[in-house]
């Protein structure tokens, strides 16, 4: 059995189905995207070669593209702070010997299993200026002057969506971090405790360094997830008002599917792919320098 599993032919045989699917549904479409991004096409007429024209247009003539890129980096930044830091704090608290730990873990994780469309609709109602809970609560406690149409004003709509996004995925981070923290060998903790480490030092010098790998993975997931964000923005604001909450994914949808500029949409999605890859490499680089082993 052991020798069978080490045989490279066997390994290849087991990996082959997954590799075929990966090639067919991931690598091949990306390759075709690279090709189509250099054309202008509306699906009905013949494709027209424009070379780098789509990319030049993106940078030079497009007003919405820089807004979309700025917004996805805004979401990435705020998500990293909210989801990672809050998630880690909650995980530390939960593994610190609190009652009903599993119940709390499940409650925090619940939003992550609800479909994004349902969450988007739910929070659209919560933020609704007339019937929403947010404004209702503000008015009830006498802070009615702060009540506003959260999703309709340029300033507040981005933060409103960020809050919903973090509400949805912080639990995900909590679950992953709790598992990682629980994997730290208890002997190390005991040794640290004997050496006089208080809670804060414990977290800073033991917990965080020993879960660095998991933190790295979660950082990549959160960063990529927010760069690719589509569903919440599409449901809650459609990228409005007037493109102020537009993200790259919703902009691709508009250009390709509403205005039939599929070549341009392709070029935009290549930019999104490039951004995601760059962020992944960057994050891995940053974390490589902080690896610790005991």
């Amino acid at each position: 059995m052991e020798s069978m599993l080490r045989n490279w032919r066997t390994i290849l045989a087991f990996m082959a189905p997954a590799m075929v699917l990966f090639l067919a549904f991931v690598l091949y479409p990306i390759g075709m995207s690279l090709y189509y991004g250099m054309f202008s096409w509306d699906l009905i007429h013949k494709m027209r070669f424009v070379g780098m024209g789509n990319f030049i247009r993106m940078i030079r003539d497009d007003d919405v593209f820089p807004v979309a890129v700025r917004n996805i980096f805004f979401f990435m930044g705020t998500s990293l702070v909210l989801q990672l830091i809050l998630g880690y704090c909650l995980a530390v608290l939960l593994t610190g010997g609190v009652l009903f730990k599993n119940a709390f873990k499940n409650i925090y994780f619940l939003p992550a299993v609800i479909p994004s469309v349902a969450i988007g609709l739910l929070w659209s109602f919560i933020y609704s200026p007339d019937v929403g809970i947010v404004n209702g609560l503000l008015r009830a406690v006498g802070l009615g002057q702060f009540a506003r149409p959260w999703l309709l004003r340029t300033g507040s709509s981005l933060w409103a969506i960020t809050l919903t996004l973090s509400w949805q995925y912080t639990g995900y981070a909590v679950v992953i971090f709790v598992a990682a923290i629980q994997n730290i060998p208890p002997e190390i903790r005991e040794a640290a405790r004997i050496d006089g480490a208080g809670s804060f030092r414990m977290v800073r010098f033991i917990t965080i360094p020993l879960t660095m790998d998991v933190i790295r993975v979660e950082t990549v997931l959160v960063a990529i997830g927010s760069l690719k964000l589509f569903d919440l923005v599409f449901i809650m604001t459609q990228g409005g008002p007037v493109h102020s909450t537009e993200v790259l994914a919703t902009y691709i949808y508009q250009r390709a599917f509403r205005q039939f500029e599929y070549g341009y949409g392709d070029a935009l999605s290549l930019v999104l792919l490039g951004l995601c890859l760059c962020m992944t490499i960057l994050i891995n680089r940053v974390f490589r320098s902080v690896r610790v082993e005991y």
Binding site: I44, L152, G240, P241, V242, F257, R258
Partner: protein, 434 residues
């Protein structure tokens, strides 16, 4: 025991997976041997025209001598054209499909995807003569007709005559009158126009009417012909008037977040007194279960002083047009089905029950036509022409850009800059398509 459980669970999973392979697109009662005609249509499930279309398809399929089986599929909302285009690109187009007129149809014509109907008309002149003069104007490209209309839509201002009567308002005859009506309504806590601009084409309708009142049809016609400019003074002035109306709070608070459905809700809920909308919704406003069925009436957008047009041109288009794909192998059967739409019975349904403007010479029983529709017909007796919605006439690419440009103007952006950007986009898009 555990193994049994595992086997049972795997079997259940397999069954669930396999059942999804059979899901969707079942055709009950499809008679063997009959070729299948695929029909794509846009519309929502309970929309009157979709209900009518389904009924006509079922009636056709029930005929014992039907030569083909009609498979009717409707795709609501935004997803229609992407799905249609994808099917065409995959060389698997539907045999019959619905299309908007003007530039949208011309797009398919220029790619050779639709069949000209002139031969069919030549074989059956009586069919063609049933249509009113000008019915095919926006459905012809290069002198050939490519689709039949099922009704005509125009854009009046729907208004709640009870609210107007209560506040002592009469139909505005000029733009100043309109501004007065707006301020009286606002003072009394009623939203003047239900229109928002979250769905960009809604706000664009009003802009197009205003532009027409100021400059007449020429500036748009020039652009549609390949020349002209969006920086024409009539468009600039239209933008300024829009911003003036925004300043007067003519639209709902935070109207940039009010979409099409919300607009309908505001008007039908009597929170707004007026609604610039197309006659495709007239049936909805006058339906038996509509709260405003006896209160709704129509008026024309008034002339604007200094403008060319007296208000006799109407924004609109031939609505819900049906066209035949050029790769269709059963053209005769499809033509037979198309002819059903021009029949007396169907036209009466469209004109009387749905309250729409019909495109044939059928005489309607005026007592059955909703009051608002009769009033509209009165207003239309002086009509000198119909001008197309810009995103229909110019096609989706440039048309949507116009809608977006005016959304920016509604939001307060500088009018001239927005129009200059639109002009640049139009020129670039057209240059690229040569």
């Amino acid at each position: 025991m555990r193994r049994v459980l595992v086997v049972c669970l795997s079997a259940a999973l397999l069954v669930a997976l396999a059942s999804t392979l059979y899901a969707g697109g079942t055709q009950e009662n499809r008679p063997a041997g009959k070729p299948r005609i695929v029909i794509y249509d846009y519309g929502h499930e309970n929309e009157p025209v979709v209900v009518l279309y389904s009924k006509l398809v079922d009636q056709y399929n029930a005929k014992p001598d039907a030569k083909v089986f009609l498979d009717y599929q409707f795709i609501p909302g935004d997803a229609y054209y992407p799905k249609l285009n994808a099917a065409i690109a995959a060389n698997n187009p539907p045999d019959v499909f619905s299309s908007h007129a003007g530039g949208v149809l011309a797009n398919y014509v220029s790619a050779g995807k639709v069949l000209a109907l002139d031969d069919a008309f030549a074989k059956d002149p009586a069919w063609k003569n049933r249509f009113v003069a000008g019915a095919f104007d926006a459905l012809s490209v290069g002198g050939k007709i490519y689709a039949i209309p099922t009704s005509q839509a125009v854009v009046p201002i729907f208004y709640n005559k009870d609210i107007f009567a209560r506040l002592g308002l009469s139909v505005p005859q000029s733009y100043d009158d309109l501004k007065n009506v707006v301020s009286v309504l606002r003072k009394n806590g009623i939203v003047p126009f239900a229109n928002g601009d979250k769905d960009v084409w809604v706000g664009a309708m009003m802009a197009e009417v205003i532009a027409n009142r100021i400059g007449g049809g020429h500036p748009y016609d020039a652009i549609a012909a390949g020349g002209g400019s969006w920086t024409d003074p009539s468009f600039v002035r239209a933008g300024q008037i829009i911003q003036e109306l925004v300043g007067l709070k003519a639209f709902p608070d935070d109207f940039l977040g009010v979409g099409y459905d919300a607009m309908i809700a505001l008007f039908m809920g009597e929170k707004a007194a007026m609604c610039v909308n197309g006659t495709w919704d007239l049936g909805r406003f006058t339906a038996a279960d509509s709260p405003i069925k006896d209160k709704v009436n129509v008026m024309n957008f008034p002339a604007i002083s200094g403008g060319i047009s007296k208000g006799t041109d109407w924004l609109g288009n031939p609505d819900h047009n049906i066209t035949i794909s050029s790769s269709n192998k059963n053209v005769d059967a499809c033509i037979d089905f198309l002819k059903v739409w021009a029949s007396e019975v169907v036209q009466k349904n469209i004109g009387e029950e749905q309250g729409k403007i019909i495109v044939t010479k059928t005489v309607l029983d005026q007592s059955k036509v909703p009051a608002a529709a009769s009033q509209l017909n009165n207003l239309l007796t002086n009509a000198t022409g119909i001008f197309l919605f810009y995103d229909v006439g110019l096609g989706a690419t440039i048309g949507q850009e116009f809608n977006n440009a005016f959304q920016a103007i509604y939001a307060g952006n500088d009018v001239t800059t927005s129009l200059q950007k639109l002009q640049k986009f139009t020129l670039d898009s057209r240059a690229g398509n040569k």
